[in-house]
Symmetry: D3
Subunit: 286 residues, 6 copies
Amino acid sequence: MFLHTSKLQFEAKPSKPDALYARKLQELIGGAYGEMTVTMQYLFQGWNCRIEGKYKDLIMDVATEEIGHVEMLATMVARLLEGAPSEVTAEAVADPVVAAVVGGMDVQQAIVSGGGPTLSDSNGVPWNGRFIVASGNLMADFRANVAAEAQGRLQTARLYNMTDDPGVRDMLKFNLARDTAHQNMWLAAIEELQEDGLEGPVSPSALFDEEHQEHAGTIWHNSDGTAGPEGRWASGPTPDGAHEFSYLMDPAPLGGKASAPAPDPLLYATSPANLGLIEKAIRKLT
Amino acid sequence: MFLHTSKLQFEAKPSKPDALYARKLQELIGGAYGEMTVTMQYLFQGWNCRIEGKYKDLIMDVATEEIGHVEMLATMVARLLEGAPSEVTAEAVADPVVAAVVGGMDVQQAIVSGGGPTLSDSNGVPWNGRFIVASGNLMADFRANVAAEAQGRLQTARLYNMTDDPGVRDMLKFNLARDTAHQNMWLAAIEELQEDGLEGPVSPSALFDEEHQEHAGTIWHNSDGTAGPEGRWASGPTPDGAHEFSYLMDPAPLGGKASAPAPDPLLYATSPANLGLIEKAIRKLT
Amino acid sequence: MFLHTSKLQFEAKPSKPDALYARKLQELIGGAYGEMTVTMQYLFQGWNCRIEGKYKDLIMDVATEEIGHVEMLATMVARLLEGAPSEVTAEAVADPVVAAVVGGMDVQQAIVSGGGPTLSDSNGVPWNGRFIVASGNLMADFRANVAAEAQGRLQTARLYNMTDDPGVRDMLKFNLARDTAHQNMWLAAIEELQEDGLEGPVSPSALFDEEHQEHAGTIWHNSDGTAGPEGRWASGPTPDGAHEFSYLMDPAPLGGKASAPAPDPLLYATSPANLGLIEKAIRKLT
Amino acid sequence: MFLHTSKLQFEAKPSKPDALYARKLQELIGGAYGEMTVTMQYLFQGWNCRIEGKYKDLIMDVATEEIGHVEMLATMVARLLEGAPSEVTAEAVADPVVAAVVGGMDVQQAIVSGGGPTLSDSNGVPWNGRFIVASGNLMADFRANVAAEAQGRLQTARLYNMTDDPGVRDMLKFNLARDTAHQNMWLAAIEELQEDGLEGPVSPSALFDEEHQEHAGTIWHNSDGTAGPEGRWASGPTPDGAHEFSYLMDPAPLGGKASAPAPDPLLYATSPANLGLIEKAIRKLT
Amino acid sequence: MFLHTSKLQFEAKPSKPDALYARKLQELIGGAYGEMTVTMQYLFQGWNCRIEGKYKDLIMDVATEEIGHVEMLATMVARLLEGAPSEVTAEAVADPVVAAVVGGMDVQQAIVSGGGPTLSDSNGVPWNGRFIVASGNLMADFRANVAAEAQGRLQTARLYNMTDDPGVRDMLKFNLARDTAHQNMWLAAIEELQEDGLEGPVSPSALFDEEHQEHAGTIWHNSDGTAGPEGRWASGPTPDGAHEFSYLMDPAPLGGKASAPAPDPLLYATSPANLGLIEKAIRKLT
Amino acid sequence: MFLHTSKLQFEAKPSKPDALYARKLQELIGGAYGEMTVTMQYLFQGWNCRIEGKYKDLIMDVATEEIGHVEMLATMVARLLEGAPSEVTAEAVADPVVAAVVGGMDVQQAIVSGGGPTLSDSNGVPWNGRFIVASGNLMADFRANVAAEAQGRLQTARLYNMTDDPGVRDMLKFNLARDTAHQNMWLAAIEELQEDGLEGPVSPSALFDEEHQEHAGTIWHNSDGTAGPEGRWASGPTPDGAHEFSYLMDPAPLGGKASAPAPDPLLYATSPANLGLIEKAIRKLT
């Protein structure tokens, strides 16, 4: 069960409204790597966690924090939209600065939300539940969590450079720091999973003995760049300590010809059995 | 530019048809972590790569291989659907095995594709372009690549246990091995990026000095589990070597009250200024 | 079966083209609360109506009218797009008014529709079938209909203030009036359902005696605002006349700890049973 | 900011696993009218509320409660999936009960979530942000809230009849009661908004004097059912007290012919100006 | 403006209920090539038509007919769902026929629509507005119309073989015939467009003299199948009479290396300029 | 299996950056009729082809070429975005040309892709797998292919007129030519299918004798335009040679009244059986 305080985790006060920027911030609310994604990803991971204790408790701590990040951003967006141009006159857009705003703002923030945020990204595409993953395998999921925090911090950094509003930047400095903390945290949790002997670096740490070992360390050279083999992925032991890397420079297909089976006549695929079809069809009618 | 050979990268021949399983394999074609995702994710990362040489060449090698994985799975699905029950009679479904198939198969594979795969996941939801990421930042993207391969191998392992068809299992043993190779490969590339001094473990490796340092190493205890602080994320240096972990056991909000600004009257939000509205509205009319 | 006359239900002639506004009007065509939604929502409700007579006949009357509203808006959009800037030159965008248009118009209206409307909202997101509901329960559906007409009229009112074109405003005055009529109509139909003894105010009017009565009138105070209990929802009889309101000021969870069951080993969730997993996995290989 | 306790708001323990039912419950998690929708709808309404006090505090109380409903359902689904058939053998599906389960379960709950819930509806379609509305106008939004709770209770009632598991039914009796409480609560809030003189029954309570009054009370008889005029929407004062109903029995279009303007030649619409186009095009080439 | 009669264009009465088939018929309602698609595609084409007369009048005739097809299918689905198993007991599913139904029916038809159709396809994915096209160019659009009717008739034929219910088959025989009529009709309209000199066979019939002529007739042999050049597309005049076919057997890329430009440092792409980044970042902090 | 060369099929070098145009080009990458669509449509058609030889080999040749078109466009977009304004200052947007760019560029190309393309259309909506069709019936699919190439060339032509950049135009001249070649090619393949006696012009060429012949050649006059019967679709033999056209000027419905069956009481549809429901419900409680 959840409780709420009406105070924000961190202040979210722009120095002045900026409707263009309010649109851009939507990416951090409803984008594929926005706060909504980490909120729901961590909540579902916590609820799906099959091992009680430190991992689950950590996940729920962070998940609950993230709902508050959506709240901060939603509040910031509403404040950035204060006084946004809802009445458009020719005189107004004769001012280039207004023209840029009129051209680039998210019109649904006005028409649908009445000057507030939507649950969409910066192009107005709604957030959706396929953005999250909660597989029950903590290693696989913590990899996804590091990835989400990395993309999230990257996008926050880009947005940081797209404004010079001190109030917005103050909040983003907090967001940047939280994304740093969370990247480090998931990286530490990945180490801990291995130290605890619960998961190996490759997910899942099973079926290694059944997979075709001869293909578990090769890189196939299917393009014509020449520098691929210069990396440490070209030879030597793999990070999981269980395989050896090698670079397959002149790869040849191992399988037979791609082909689909003879069709079911009731599904009307085109096949040699159709020969003379038109005549037959028309003959029947006449 | 691309070239194609009609031979498969690896054999994809089931020992016998299995329409139920053909539906499940759709997850590896068009699911959020299926082969279509890694194909397009790597292609767009390669095209968006801003540094020539080993990283870009590696990405394009693997991207091109992955198109062939979609091909293997598409071929396998068509073969698994051979002779799937397209005519349903009461007698047929009186056989429980047929009943399970009739109940559980993907009806669009028959109605829309005529006994072939669709570009959808195992629930029939279409693959979409928001499943991929290609940010231009290789560390952030390689994190996403490890995550994608980890989830992909996990799903493949689950699917491996859902069949005992030797032909299907033979192909999945190849897929498992490739997912192992690719996880190791991206992990190695992450190490190499750091050894080359191009990226740090936290993405992006910038703005550290501007982010609010006091919040870059704390875990907020927003839930009531007690074991969270037992992990290595509770104290000591962070994996990036730049911060210190600490666990904030009794977190208090740092910001003011969440509130939205006074509304623009032309957007008709409910506000104190509306007082007496109804009378006024009706008085006008009468 | 349907018939069509090429005359519009109401005139839809702008005084002059306005490509920026043509984009905004897309919200009334293909937005979640646009005319397409009420059209399809009412059609499916009519077809799904299980009681012959006045309710069903009313629904079909209004549903059929709404198709004509989509027609009016589609026509208006095409006319607003006349002469929209399809050739962009540096000289043209040196004029701020043109710059605003170039920045803010819906580019798909030009590229895809050749100067016509799309079946999308004002951010270009396509309309979809999940926007409608037709449950077979008239009370539940009429509630949704009032809600749709209320949001629709609100958006129309906002759009009314975003133009001063007399032709556009003339059509919107008709739309506003129809949204007024339809809100009143569904409100009247809700009253009539109750007067006819067919439905109560709460949907569905069943299972009241099975639901946990002690939880059917309480408001849980899960946030820290203090004014919630000042409203008429804090005490006294509920609008359905069947329960009593009360405000639960210090709510405590009634259930046990959220937890997921022990995992199926073949699904590879992380669990205590994984202990020593890595060593085992690697030992097998070597 | 939010806090979490790991105890559930109400118990969520099935008496025995039931994978088929676990799929159906997804509708209450990620369906258009599931708990995720009311959670995010109320949160965004609270954050977008432009009037401090009892309305906003109520919204945040209920919003925060709803997150806990998603938690209850997610927990229930994981428990219902315990031991679900992940290994399929011909012998197993020879049992009709198993066959029904194998046919009808949500395969992504196994393949993707490892025996846990997804953020999708009962057909596996992901939840998305267009399901919510937070317009800033409390009357329009409370209408949407009653509608959402009505559809939600209706679906819960249907699901209640689809199981006889005492544990599941116990939780659903709580859910039914909360949906009753919330419908009554929003209905009371709608009354209060009017008593407070903040909003009228029709949203928004503005522009009545500008809308075309002669069209604000008519029902257009565009279908051929004869019973429509028997309802109280056919005559007498409208619920908002501002208009009069009438039934337009033989409606005629008021507008001119629907037509699109002459096309921009650079957009290549087919038009009379194209005459002789082919000859010209080919003549140019030869 | 539209009018409606409550009589169906053709009878839609199944001989007996069949919930499994009710799910499959959803493909013809809300699938990418279902009746909803042709309805909205033709309506938007008609409204977007820039040439008055026979083409526009034909489009509106057919568009209006198609709304009635959605109505027939919606009615059929509701009737097929009569008495569908909403209460599931172990005894019931012990009957394999019931088991197949329980496994394979569309659960949203019960939970959401109360025994009626949804606006989704046979996998429950909602219909959406990107399924339609209305470009303003009649040749391009009539090509899409033939394609839609061809796929639609193909799916109807497949569904025809999936039932032996005389009532369902009677309706499908009508649908098959209408799809035949409409394919022929659009093919005739394509001929007429050319006879009228309005459009050539290739869309649009412009810019032929600007396109790179040497690439307007070649087929690139980018795969290794050997039979491609056996078709009439390998040599001789093209159908538009304006070009010559040839098969490019050993295709070589004509462009330079694919590469992205040097990155903007504020977007944090990985680039040679990042060298030594980590040290610098950490040095700043300490 | 696929191979890749890092050289582009054709050069993709703009003369200068143009961020506004980079957004528009997204339509050709990820739009419903963009290069991604034809790539995946042809790949899946090739893999689903049930007849070996010239048709399948042709499809795979073209499919493989199309991947390279996505590559050309992705490269072009990245180059057009070079130096796009990521830092926005009031001074910058005081320049109208910059204002237009700031207003109209795709902000996700910067925030998400770091100055590269996304897999979305020109409104930022992601590409999805429902855009493709691969039915197994070559005639139905080749119709869809002509349609896709026609819409694709039309959009390319429109985009050609929206730029005067010589480098962009040079690439588009290649694209226009390829779209011409491919339209002609699929038209030739349609002729060949008929000459080979494999398929008739109407898909599928079966069930003609079962469809209701009397409805296989009629056009229903459901709208009131008068010119519809002037076309060659009004009389004479149909293009498939198997039917006769006629225009049904005064169409009457052939079916009975649209109605849904009596509802299952456990689904709580409103029905006459509900009469007195409220009293009963409340009586139970008190």
